[in-house]
């Protein structure tokens, strides 16, 4: 593994690891916490990045792209992940497609929207029920290792993988009174 440069933010580390693994397609439904990563992939011509109308659509696009020889990642927030169980269970898992997902975690550590706090409770049970490999990233010094190793594993084992960006890492979304 490369030595981590301590001066990089989490989103710069993620961008660099995606490039190293040739993950060049980024579909997303936007989120404030993800904004610097979304901006970074739009700014880099290596990536093809675009917003989709629904998270399911983003997962479908990545599945088709993988089968066509191109790897991608879907960015979303917790409530968006909650729209995905059916397509993870009927497309990514049974067809053995290593769809990468990254979720900006809402609903915890200072959430101000009750809808977000409730839907957030479905995320890990869904991932566990479908036996989808997932890791919550809380510290800057673990981001590179987790993303790097997990992409390698997802591709090698032909299985989807989900990265959860904790507010401990990103600062989350702060309540504006």
């Amino acid at each position: 593994m490369d030595e981590e440069a301590p001066d990089r933010a989490w989103h710069e580390i993620v961008r660099d690891v995606l490039k190293r693994h040739n993950v060049s397609l980024v579909t997303y439904v936007p989120d404030n916490v993800l904004r610097p990563l979304i901006d970074a992939v739009h700014a880099d011509p290596f990536f093809t990045a675009f917003a989709v109308a629904r998270e399911e659509e983003g997962l479908g696009i990545l599945s088709g792209a993988w089968m066509g020889g191109r790897c991608g990642i879907l960015l979303m927030q917790t409530s968006g992940f909650a729209t995905l169980p059916n397509v993870i269970a009927s497309l990514a898992v049974p067809f053995q497609i290593p769809v990468l997902m990254m979720v900006s975690e809402r609903g915890t550590l200072g959430e101000f929207n009750i809808g977000q706090s409730l839907v957030a409770r479905t995320m890990r049970p869904v991932l566990q029920a479908l036996a989808v490999e997932h890791h919550t990233m809380t510290r800057l010094d673990e981001v590179e290792f987790i993303v790097d190793r997990s992409i390698t594993q997802a591709v090698a084992t032909q299985a989807p993988c989900c990265f959860i960006l904790s507010p401990l890492l990103t600062g989350g979304k702060v309540f504006a009174a």
């Binding site: 397609l25 093809t48 675009f50 989709v52 109308a53 629904r54 399911e56 659509e57 983003g58 997962l59 479908g60 696009i61 990545l62 599945s63 088709g64 792209a65 993988w66 089968m67 066509g68 020889g69 191109r70 991608g72 059916n86 397509v87 269970a89 009927s90 497309l91 049974p94 067809f95 053995q96 497609i97």
Partner: protein, 204 residues
């Protein structure tokens, strides 16, 4: 677009075609290993029944995702033409994907909508296209200007030839009957995915 001048202006004016017949007509015109994504239900079964090409992908769930999967293949392999075959009930679940396809503007992508106005596989319940929704009009509104209803079998073949020859994205609306499918897709997803990847030259 002048191309649409000879096509029906709405769903009601299009002839009701046979699903298996037009699926066979489509497959017969594919000479360059074009990829075909079959959405769930009888659309998929008749694609299977029309001959199992290595470049066909058969969904077994994820209702509504034939168009996004086809867009993904088209993004990964810009030199290959890609067709999505989708039913009316399915596309009604992902109308946003039509706008996404329009925005990406892939030249190598075509969508065929098989519209019989029913959720046929679940017992023939009425869909919204049988109550006034016009998928071709919706697609045009989403930005897919090259969208047309196939007037009859000959017009369908002409539209397919256009989609094979000229820059897309294309959407071909087909009114179809409620005939039973000719076969049933083998439900082995790992095998389907593996064969498709080999058919696309991604795996050796």
């Amino acid at each position: 677009m002048s191309f649409s001048a000879n096509h029906p202006t709405n769903r009601a004016q299009a002839k009701v075609l046979n699903r298996f017949d037009i699926t066979e007509r489509l497959v017969a015109r594919l000479k360059h290993d074009e990829a075909v994504i079959g959405g769930i239900g009888y659309t998929n079964f008749d694609l299977w029944g029309a001959g199992q090409r290595a470049q066909n992908f058969y969904m077994l769930g994820s209702m509504g995702l034939a168009v996004p999967i086809a867009l993904g293949v088209a993004l990964a392999q810009p030199q290959r033409r890609v067709f999505a075959l989708e039913g009316d009930g399915s596309i009604l679940m992902q109308l946003g994907s039509l706008a996404t396809v329009a925005a990406r503007a892939r030249k190598n992508l075509a969508i065929v909508i098989m519209d019989n106005g029913t959720y046929q596989i679940t017992g023939g319940q009425q869909t919204l296209t049988d109550q006034g929704a016009d998928i071709v009009a919706i697609a045009r509104g989403a930005g897919l200007v090259q969208s047309a209803w196939a007037a009859d079998e000959g017009a369908f073949e002409e539209l397919v030839d256009l989609a094979l020859r000229e820059d897309g994205p294309w959407l071909i609306g087909c009114r179809i009957d409620r005939d039973k499918p000719k076969d049933t897709t083998e439900r082995d997803p790992a095998r389907i995915r593996d064969q498709f990847m080999r058919g696309l030259g991604v795996k050796k």
